[in-house]
């Protein structure tokens, strides 16, 4: 197989795509929709109703530690209480660990593994604190994610599957013009009469679809990451993207889905004589992606690096199978005689 011939075919096809407004619209609008518009629409409501939870930077400087004491009344500043029982106290910039607070007022402090009866805790960082009839205001969680944060993290995982629809859908449009268009134009016969092998032609045409698709997919990943981080970081307290799961998804799973979409569309193109029919049938390639999306939503598995790698392995095997069928379909005799 000669790589220069593959590149000649790919370059010619890409030059043709540049003159096709439907392909250009798809290359611009699809990433815009999938990577920017829809994530904004879906993420904004979630983030609007999630309280920011990054712990306050309280700047507590503890001067004294009291351990196992019972404290009645008084005002305290910059003191660490461990396993103490406090009643009717006012505390600011203090640490409480394993304490019981009764009818007390606490502000700008850190409370861990403690119980608060009556009283109020304001603008403080808390971890495993039980409130009994107490007022809690402007509290930030120091430990594991809250339920809202967990949902947000999971939701970002779902967006990955959404993002992967980009390389699955774009080839459907391009391939329909590339293969069916060439068939309708009857330009395949002189092309097949050149000293180019079937494999070189197939590889060249596939490359011409793969390159722009993955280019816009990867380019749109940059604003997508910025957008998601912009919306989710204040809630989560950290920038969730890019993480390993997403990197595997975007740089391994997305190209594999793209290859699957191209290969399936070559087979579809060989059986239809109309660009739109090809697009409609070819778009069925999104079904596996949607299936994974639904299964993930149902909670059967959690999207993580291992899941993504397993999924990539399965898709790679499917790709090999479909590619084999595609090579069998894309043979000059088949094209000239049996392609409808």
């Amino acid at each position: 197989m000669r790589l220069d011939r593959i590149w000649i075919v790919a370059k010619k096809d890409m030059a043709e795509f540049r003159t096709n407004k439907y392909i250009m619209y798809t290359l611009v609008l699809m990433p815009l929709l999938m990577a920017l518009v829809l994530p904004t629409i879906y993420l904004t409501p979630v983030t609007m109703f999630s309280a920011p939870s990054e712990p306050y930077d309280l700047g507590i400087v503890s001067n004294q530690t009291l351990e196992g004491d019972t404290i009645q009344g008084g005002t305290y500043l910059n003191i660490t209480f461990v396993d103490c029982v406090l009643e009717d106290v006012i505390a600011e910039s203090c640490n409480f660990e394993g304490c019981e607070l009764r009818t007390s007022l606490v502000r700008s402090s850190q409370l861990a593994n403690s119980t608060v009866f009556d009283g109020a805790v304001m603008r403080s960082n808390v971890l495993n604190v039980t409130f009994n009839n107490a007022v809690a205001s402007d509290l930030r969680n120091m430990g594991e994610d809250t339920e809202q944060e967990s949902f947000l993290s999971q939701f970002i995982g779902f967006l990955l599957l959404f993002f992967i629809l980009i390389p699955a859908i774009i080839p459907t449009v391009i391939a329909s013009y590339s293969f069916v268009g060439e068939k309708l134009n009857r330009s395949l016969e002189p092309l097949l009469a050149t000293p180019t092998t079937d494999a070189e032609l197939l590889a060249g045409k596939s490359l011409s679809i793969f390159l722009p698709t993955m280019l816009v997919t990867w380019l749109s990943f940059i604003p997508f990451v910025l957008l998601v981080n912009f919306l989710a970081a204040p809630i989560l307290g950290y920038a969730p993207l890019p993480d390993l799961t997403w990197l595997i998804g975007v740089f391994l799973l997305a190209p594999l889905f793209c290859i699957m979409a191209i290969a399936l569309n070559v087979i579809v193109s060989s059986r239809v004589t109309d660009v739109r029919a090809s697009q409609q049938l070819g778009s069925l390639v999104v079904l596996p992606v949607v299936a994974v999306f639904i299964i993930s939503l149902s909670g059967w598995f959690v999207l993580g690096p291992l899941t993504m790698l397993l999924m990539a392995g399965v898709i790679a095997l499917v790709d090999i199978g479909i590619a084999y069928l595609t090579v069998r379909t894309f043979q000059r005799e088949e094209i000239l005689i049996r392609w409808k």
Binding site: N185, L191, L192, A193, P195, T196, E333, L336, I337
Partner: protein
């Protein structure tokens, strides 16, 4: 040289080409004529290694079309003009040719020069940067011919090169093919246009699934009718037909209006005797000449059609 030996192609139960034996010499312009579905395009596709024969084989430039590695070499030596130009309509004429020149490994330094030469010869240089989709049918056909020649192939396969063209475009293409003939290129011409075949081809094969006849246009006519002399007279008098028919070497005589049509084995020997007899019987001979049978007559005779 192009050779076929028992070349056969079937599609299911339908035999498109049946045991075709052909030998086309280098530098020859060979015409393939026959009705639609006669197997002409299938033959060209087999010779261009686009489809494989079901039986038999063919050699182009000594290379076997049945061997995949040789098929690739054959495709490098041929230029194909299919029935439909099949150009990339959104690309310019120049870009179309440049793409094919690259696929045919035309060296970079030669490419531009050759494309310019072809486009200038075909009168398309000024339109080189225009998208082919804007061109008329004749202009597209010219670009398709240039495409088939961009790598200077030894063998040129042309499928209906003047089909659907207006008379002017048809004439341009025909004249260009005559120039190619002068260059000594081997040309395989599939055509319905018997006038094209008669003007361009050294030999013609009449095809309907199998090869019905092959030869130069004159040879083909001779196969069926021998030589016929037309004697145009002011009036054909009584007994003249019989008198001419009894002359040595004359095989048949028939009267058509005021003319006698005389079949003779050797017109050069028979014609002076015919003239002498007719004058001696008081006949006034206005003219005497050979009846030309065209390819159309051969075609209709072979394929059972009627004028």
């Amino acid at each position: 040289m192009i050779e076929t030996h028992g070349l056969t192609r079937t599609f299911g139960d339908n035999t498109a080409v049946d045991a075709l034996d052909l030998k086309i010499r280098d530098g020859e312009v060979f015409g393939f004529i026959g009705p639609n579905g006669a197997g002409k395009t299938t033959t060209v596709r087999m010779l261009c290694c686009l489809i494989a024969p079901t039986a038999g084989t063919a050699y182009v430039h000594g290379l076997d079309v049945n061997r995949p590695e040789e098929a690739l070499l054959i495709r490098g030596k041929i230029g194909l003009l299919p029935e439909v130009p099949g150009l990339y309509e959104s690309l310019s004429a120049y870009r179309n040719l440049d793409f094919y020149a690259q696929l045919y490994d035309v060296p970079k330094g030669v490419r531009a020069e050759r494309i310019e030469s072809l486009l200038r010869t075909l009168g398309m240089w000024e339109r080189r940067d225009d998208a082919v989709g804007k061109f008329s049918k004749g202009m597209k056909q010219k670009i398709a011919i240039a495409r088939a020649l961009v790598h200077e192939p030894d063998y040129l396969f042309l499928d209906e090169p003047t089909s659907g063209l207006d008379p002017e475009a048809s004439l341009t293409v025909r004249n260009y093919l005559l120039d190619l003939k002068k260059e000594g290129r081997t040309i395989f011409l599939n055509t319905h246009n018997l006038d094209d075949a008669a003007r361009l081809c050294d030999r013609v094969g009449v095809m309907r699934t199998s090869l019905l006849a092959i030869g130069s246009p004159d040879e083909l006519a001779g196969m069926f009718w021998g030589h016929t002399t037309v004697v145009r007279m002011r009036r054909v008098g009584p007994g003249m037909t019989e008198a001419v028919g009894s002359l040595p070497g004359v095989t048949a005589v028939r009267q058509e209006g005021t003319s006698l049509l005389v079949d003779a084995a050797s017109p050069d020997d028979a014609n002076p005797l015919i003239m002498k007899v007719l004058i001696s019987m008081g006949g006034e001979v206005l003219s005497m000449g050979e009846l030309k049978r065209g390819l159309e007559d051969v075609y209709l005779k072979l394929l059972g059609g009627k004028r």
